[in-house]
Structures are given as C-alpha cells and as structure tokens.
C-alpha cells in the first residue's frame, strides 16, 4: 500500500490514540483533538465524500481559515484519491469563480456565510459544483434555500450512515492509491496573469516529507511529538501546508490553530510554539510591535530595553559572523541580558520556547533576521516554491549565512544557469505540471526535468545560495544597469514605519519608489509628536511624515551604489488590498496592476521640472 499523509495519520492513531494531534480555541478553551478522534473524523468525512459520489481524480475545494475541519476535509479527500484545492479566505468572488471553474471542483467546503456567499454569487458560472458544505451554520441554516448547501454536521451524519452500510469503503479506496496520484492543486498567487494550479502528487509530498520532515531539512533536529506549532498562515499555501498538515502527520507535531490572523500575537503568547514559520510580513510586524510598545513603556523599562537591545545587536552581529552559533562571549552577554530583557521579551512575543524559527515565501531584510537572532530566537531563512514542493535550500543551525537562503538540501540537484543566472532544481519533488495548462508546464519544466524557478540567484562561498530577485522583476535602467529592486525594497521595509515599498525604474533614467506607510507605527509616531491626522491618506501625505520617510530613504540610499539610489518617491494614498487587486492572496504586490493604477504618481516622479 502506498504511503501517504493519510496512512501516516492512521498509523499514528493506532500507535498513540490518546496523543494530542491538534488544538483549537473554542469558547476560550484550547479544545484538544486526539489522534484517535482525528483519524475517526477523517474516515467519516471520507465516507461522506464517497456517499456524495466523489471518484478518484475529482476535485474538492476548501475555502476556510485554518481550523480542524480543514485538515479533516483535506485528508478525507486524499483518502478517497481526490484532489484538494485550497482557496485563500481573502479570495474575492471573481477569483473564487475562476479557481472553482478552472479546477472543476465538485464539492466546496466553505467556512461560513461570507465564503458561501462568494460561491453563491457566481454559482451560475460553476456547472461542475454539486455541493457546498458549510462549517458555520450561523446565518445560513434555515435561511438559505439553495439545494446544493449542506451543513457539516449533516455531511458527517451522511458519512456515518455510509460507514455503517459500507464498512471499509474508504480503506479500500485508500489501498488503491498510487504514487502518481495528484493529491492537491496548489494555485500559485500569480503576480502576473491568472493563478496557475500546480499539481502535487503523492510521491512529491512523500519526498517532501522525507527531505524536510524526517531528514530535518527545515528544522534540525527533526520535529517530534514534543514540538508545538501555531497554524496561522493560509493552508492553501504550500509552506503552511508543510508545517501544519505534513509536519503533523509525519512527525506528530502538535498543531494549534490561531483564532485569526489578527490574534496571532496573543495566540503565540498562549501557545509558546517550539517551531515557528513566518513570512517576512509577520516578522516585520512583530519587530514593529516591539518597537511601538517599547516606545510607550515607562522610562526605566525603556532605558533597560534600549541598553539590552544594543547588546542584542552586538550578539546578533557576532552570531552572523559565526554561522548563527553562539561564541562564549555572546553566551555570557546573552545570559545577562536574559535576566533583564530577552526572557521577558521572548515570552511576550510568544517565542520563549521557539527552538527553530524560519522565514520564507518572500525575501526579507537581513536586519530583521539579525534582531531575532540577537534576542535569542534561532532564525533561519529558507527557500522553496510550490512547483518543487518547497524543496530547494535552507539555512541549517550552525551554518547560517545571513542574506542567503542557505544550502541545497542533501540529495537534490540544484544549479544556477550560467547565462541567465536562474536557479534550476531537479528532484522527485518537482511537480507534475500545471492543471489544464500544458503550455505553462512546458515552460516551467524543461525536457531534462529541470524546474525553472524564475528566481535569479548566485552562489555565496560556493555553498550557500543568495536570491537576487524574481527574474521578471529585475530592473534594467536606461543606462543599461541591472538592478534588483527587492533588495532595496526590503531595506526600506526593514524600517518599522514602512509597510510597502515598490521600487520602479525599468528603462528609466533613475529609480523611484512608491511607499506605503505602516498605519500603526506611523500613527503612534504622529501621536507622540502631536501631529494631528484623520485618515490613512491624510497621515501619509503630511509633510512631517514625508520628511520621516525621506530620512529613511536617505539612510537606505547611503548603503547602495549611486545608480541604485532612490531619487524620488511618492506616498501611496491608500493601504494596498487583496480585494482591490493590488496584492495577491499572499500579500505580494502586483507590479503591473500598481504601475497602471498609480500611473499619475509614477509619471509625476519622472516629470522634468517637477518638485521632488
């Protein structure tokens, strides 16, 4: 029988039925789910899918925040050899229509009224959609009359009946699983054009589990039942799927679901996870919140924190030179600082027990990573993408090189194309192609099986890989100079006051930037400096704020070469948003959409005699 994520959960339920598989906060209590209950629910849900006529290869979509039912549905789908399609909770109705119709989804698991409404709004475009199973009955049950709607409890009851009538049906279907079965479609965010559905097979995922979980490619030493992690990033993204579903099934890591993305910081403090994965935005936000809270602390606390953060900075510097390991000197300084600041600080930000922290999915400024290293959070940048099941490179404890994404995982092939500088990978984790898009597939994977990542990289010291930028984002100035905008953007975003920075200048004489402020921090700063403001736009366009940003831009410019200096910038008049089509579901800026939307702003920066 083929080993899958599902058989792993089954085996774990047999071996440690009373062990904790996951927790979710309900009525103020972290409700525990044991492995036995997890497996039992997966089986029932699997029977329910069979009862609704799901055949091998059918698509089941899940449109929900991270919660227990996400995992039940995902595993039940894989158990009956169907494919899971994850939707971002923030996907607006038109995108929901595209994803559901493109994937040909037959059953949609929708979280609540909000998500059900999105699907119902476009239901006429979705001839394949047969059932919508909703998890939260509020506002739906006994109000909506669409015959396709089915409440989760009724769905499970259906499964129970099917289970009683056809015992073993799900297990029989599972036994037929083959390594080549596609188990999930992961739609990539698509900064250009519509999202593409990457097909990951059972063997892709098994290779990923072997490399990243069992061999400890991401977390070394490898994760175990003693580890605890918080699940808060969208589960339809490959990174969170690895950390939540696959770490859980393969290594028995206890997963705790955050109440929402807004409560992550307080949930972190409650859960105190041992393994923590975050995207740059999360780390930047934690850093900004530390700075805000310190700025408004009482004088003694502020003085102490300022001193020990300076010490932490020194510790971080030394550790960076030392591959991320402590030296006796930093150990001593850390021990003292632990008493006065680091222990309490880490406790407050929920990282007291973090033994391994990782940043990935987007480039991050090295200063941010250094801060976390300095206060004692072992931070590692990792690199991977959906198309290679996130298997590419990772920094390993003791061998960290700041500014790089680490070394290629053992047993995989990774090379950098001599001509284009593009990073290519080849290993069993390379995906089976894009769903219903052979053209894009042939562009991504060449005849020799090399995956073209679209990222430009270079070797550092022959062992570590440094990502320069996305290939299509590289700016070639009018002077013919190649510039990586993301490096400059991240240097800008490392400031707690700047949330978005978009560096422009392709085929132009000089670089310019569109800058979006971080409302919380700048608002706090304005309040402390007695600058009155009303809206986001009003605040962003205040002279004092522009002056503040100018200062940050000047600082960043000083660190880059003359041609890489940002000559002019403009403030974004609004916060960028997924629903307005400015950001992707993973909060990445859609450059094309931005250039179009803020065309006037951009042109004003390149106007001849314009006042800067």
């Amino acid at each position: 029988m083929t080993r899958t994520i599902v058989t792993r959960v089954r085996d774990r339920a047999a071996a440690t039925p009373d062990g904790i598989a996951m927790r979710e906060k309900d009525y103020g209590i972290w409700q525990e789910v044991t492995w036995a209950r997890y497996w039992d629910t997966v089986l029932t849900a699997g029977h329910a899918l069979l009862a609704l006529g799901i055949e091998p290869g059918d698509r089941v979509a899940i449109h929900s925040e991270n919660r227990r039912e996400w995992l039940y549905s995902d595993l039940a789908t894989v158990a009956v050899r169907a494919m899971t399609v994850g939707l971002y909770p923030t996907n607006p109705a038109p995108e929901v229509a595209y994803l559901l119709s493109h994937s040909g989804t037959r059953i949609l698991i929708a979280e609540d009224q909000e998500q059900v409404d999105k699907a119902l709004e476009v239901i006429d475009e979705l001839p394949d959609l047969e059932h919508i199973v909703y998890l939260e009955p509020r506002g739906i049950r006994r109000r909506y009359t669409n015959p396709k709607l089915l409440f989760w409890d009724d769905f499970l009851a259906l499964g129970e009946r099917h289970r009683a009538e056809h015992p073993g049906a799900v297990e029989n279907r599972m036994a037929e699983t083959e390594p080549g079965d596609v188990m999930t479609l992961i739609y990539t965010s698509g900064t250009t054009g519509p999202p593409k559905g990457a097909m990951l097979t059972v063997s892709n995922v098994e290779f990923c589990v072997k490399e990243l979980v069992e061999a400890g490619g991401f977390t070394s030493p490898p994760p175990s039942e003693q580890d605890i992690l918080l699940s808060y990033l969208p589960l339809c993204h490959v990174a969170e799927r690895i950390f939540t579903t696959w770490f859980n099934a393969a290594a028995g890591v206890q997963v705790d679901f955050a109440e929402s993305i807004a409560t992550v910081q307080s949930n972190l403090a409650e859960i105190q996870p041992t393994i923590l994965f975050g995207v740059p935005r999360i780390w930047e936000k934690v850093l900004a919140s530390v700075n805000i809270k310190l700025a408004s602390a009482s004088p003694l606390k502020r003085l102490s924190a300022r001193f020990w953060l300076r010490v932490a900075d020194g510790i971080g510097d030394t550790m960076v030179r030392n591959g991320g390991s402590h030296t006796p000197g930093t150990r001593l300084r850390y021990a003292l600082g632990w008493l006065f600041l680091y222990r309490a600080l880490r406790d407050r930000i929920g990282m007291r027990k973090v033994r391994y922290a990782a940043s990935g999915a987007a480039p991050i400024a090295p200063e941010v990573l250094k801060f976390f290293m300095g206060v004692g959070v072992p931070m590692h940048e990792v690199y991977g993408m959906t198309e290679n099941t996130a298997i590419a490179t990772g920094n390993l404890p003791g061998k960290v090189k700041l500014g790089t994404v680490g070394e290629p995982h053992p047993g995989i092939e990774l090379r950098i194309d001599e001509e284009t500088g593009e990073i290519l990978t080849r290993h069993p984790g390379v995906f089976a192609g894009y769903w219903r898009n052979p053209e894009a597939t042939s562009k991504a994977v060449d005849a020799d099986g090399w995956l073209h990542t679209g990222d430009v990289g270079e070797w550092v010291d022959g062992t570590h890989v440094k990502i320069v930028d996305r290939m299509k984002d590289i700016i070639i100035t009018a002077g013919g100079k190649n510039i990586s905008p993301s490096e400059i953007e991240n240097a800008l975003k490392a400031s707690e006051f700047i949330k978005e920075a978009i560096v422009l200048g392709d085929r132009r004489a000089y670089l310019t930037a569109l800058i979006g402020i971080e409302l919380d921090t700048v608002g706090d700063w304005a309040q402390r400096n007695k600058i009155p403001y009303t809206t986001y736009r009003d605040l962003a366009e205040r002279d004092e704020v522009i002056e503040l940003v100018q200062g940050i831009v000047d600082q960043v410019n000083a660190r880059f070469a003359q041609v890489e200096a940002v000559k002019r910038f403009r403030m974004l008049p609004k916060e960028l948003d997924h629903e307005d089509g400015e950001l992707t579901a993973t909060q990445k800026v859609k450059r094309a959409a931005m250039a179009e939307r803020f065309h006037d702003l951009v042109e004003s920066m390149y106007a001849k005699a314009g006042a800067a």
Binding site: W30, S296, A297, K301, L341
Partner: protein
Amino acid sequence: MTAPVRQRRPRQLSGRPGLYTSYAQQLRLLNTRPKLLTVSAIVLLAFVLPWLVADETLSLLGVAMAASIGAIGLNIVTGYAGQVSLGHAFFLAIGAYTASAVSGAPDDDTIGFGVTNVLVWLLAAGLVAAVFGVLVAPLATRLRGLYLAIVTLGLVFLGEHIFAEWQALTGGAGVGRPGPVPVLFGVELNSSGDVLTSDQKLYLLMLASLVVFGLLARNLARSKVGRAFAAIRDRDIAAEVIGVNLTRYKVIAFAVSSFYAGCAGALVYTITGFIEPSSFNLLLSVQYIAMVLIGGVATISGSIMGAFFITLLPALTRQLPTVAPFISEDASSPLNVFQVETVLYGLLIIGFLIFEPRGLYGIWIRIRNYWKAWPFSY
C-alpha cells in the same frame, strides 16, 4: 468498523500558563507555580510564627485574623454583591453573644449553657447571625445604595439599645460579660498548658479558622453564586434580565455575610475574653468598612490585608507619643492618640477612595503588573 474514540483528561503544558485546555484549569485557585509557592510559603510561615514571636504580638495577630474573617464577610455582601451594609457590628454582636451564651458557665450571672466545644459554639454563632441576616435581607431587595445603608445603620442602634438593656445576656452597659470559652478536643485553649501558651493556642485556632473561611469564601466567589453576586453588583436590572434571581441571591449574600460576621464576633471576643455591650457601635461598623475599602473591594486577600492594617494601626499609633511628644496618651488631653487614630481612619478611607480605589490589593496588582508587563508597559 468503528475506531474506539476515548476522551482523555486534559492536562496543562508546562511553561505555558496561558494555554488552558479546560475550564477547570482556568478556574484553578493557584493557577501558576509562583502563586502556589508564595501562598504555601506564607501559610507555612504563619504556622511556625507562634514559636518565633512574643505572645503579646501573637494575640494581636490573632485578633487581626479573626477580624479578617469578619472583613471577608462584609466584603461578600458589600464588595462582591454590592449591597452596602453598615450593620456589620450588629451581626458581630449576635455572634459574640451567641457563642458566649452557649459556652458560658451555667451558674454565672449571665445566661450560659456550658457547651464549651469550639466547633459547636462557632457554628451556633454563625447560624444565629445568619438567621438575622436572612431576616434583614428582604429589605435589601426593596432598597439599594444609600437607603440600604441607612436601614442597616438602624440595626446598629437597635442592637446597641437591646444589648444595653438585656442584662441577663450581656451583663448590661458598663458591666459586660466574659467572652466564649474555647475547648477543642478536650484542650482548653484559653489557659496555658505544658506545651503551648494560651496565646499560641488561640493564635493557631484563629489561623486555622482563617484558612478555612478564606478558602470557602474564595470558592464561593468563583462559583455560580459568586458570579451572580458580581452581576447584581454591576447592574441589578441587567442581572435579573440574564436570569439571576435577585431576591434569592441577595438573601444568600446577607446570610453568608452574617454567618462570617457571627463567627468573627465569636472568635474576636474569645481572644479579648470580655464583651462590653457598648462596643458594638457605629464605629465598629465603620472600622470593618474601612478594612474592606483599604484592603480591596471584592477580594479575599484584600480583606485580610485590610483587617491586619486596621487592627495593627492602633498598636502603631500608640507608639506615636515617643516620636511626636505633642500627642498625648491621655484620653482627656486635647490631642491624644485616640483622636489621631480616628482622624487617621478618616484620612485613610478618603485617601484610598481617591487615589487607590482598589485598596492595598490594588497596590499589589499595580506592582505585579509592572513586572508582568516587563519590558513593555501594557
């Protein structure tokens, strides 16, 4: 085939005080290790104290502990349930006289039944006081705030008159009668033995009683009843709307409160050994109000802190003449310690109400939060 699904008992993860996997964990009295250790240390210290300090101090501490029980009682009705009561002195008197009557010598001038077992007369004192509490409670269902305070004030004056006149029970004004006679498991607690002096024995009795009464009150406060009290205090109409039976819970509040007051009265006068009827006056009620306000409204530990503060205050003011010679120890002089004491009560109550409405307990919370929030301020 159905897999056996068992329910396991939730357990707490180490080092994660915020991760509650059951309501029982969330409601635990000593929910963190530091709290458990500190409370154990304090209780342990209190139990070895009789061998460490002088007997006079012990008897003073004993009175403070007995007063703590009374303060806890007042805090239940006034702090938790929000029913202002100025009649606490009346319930203390009921307890004190019941206990003395039950335990007093039958052949004495005053009423006495000769049952000297502490457990018996303590329970009797509490129950009789509780009965009076239940009789008063219906007033509270009709009145609130200032009106209730005035009515309960009336109780004190009624009591003062009755106790002054009922000489068979109280010995009459200016004469008084002996306090309750404490015998526990055949040991006479109010006379020194071979092992322990009477002060040590009484101190231990008070300490044990305080631990028991304190725990009971703390448990009551976090139970359904306690939450009903808090609901009534915060807004009685809203409480009624969400299904709290006002009459029932106000009666419970008065009954429990007077039960505590009765027991406290009995215990206090066991130590002093003599009851003077005129001492159950308005000032005594005000002292207990001061304990609650200075200690901390709606907290058990605050009640104890307040009671200790108010009980030990006279001992401190008596020392004043040595540092400030213009204050006299003679009650007939223009500025004497007794006047200073009264002035201090007033100033303290005003000061606490204005500057630290949550009392001594509030000061402690402030200190705790300062360190708990480190390195931030909130």
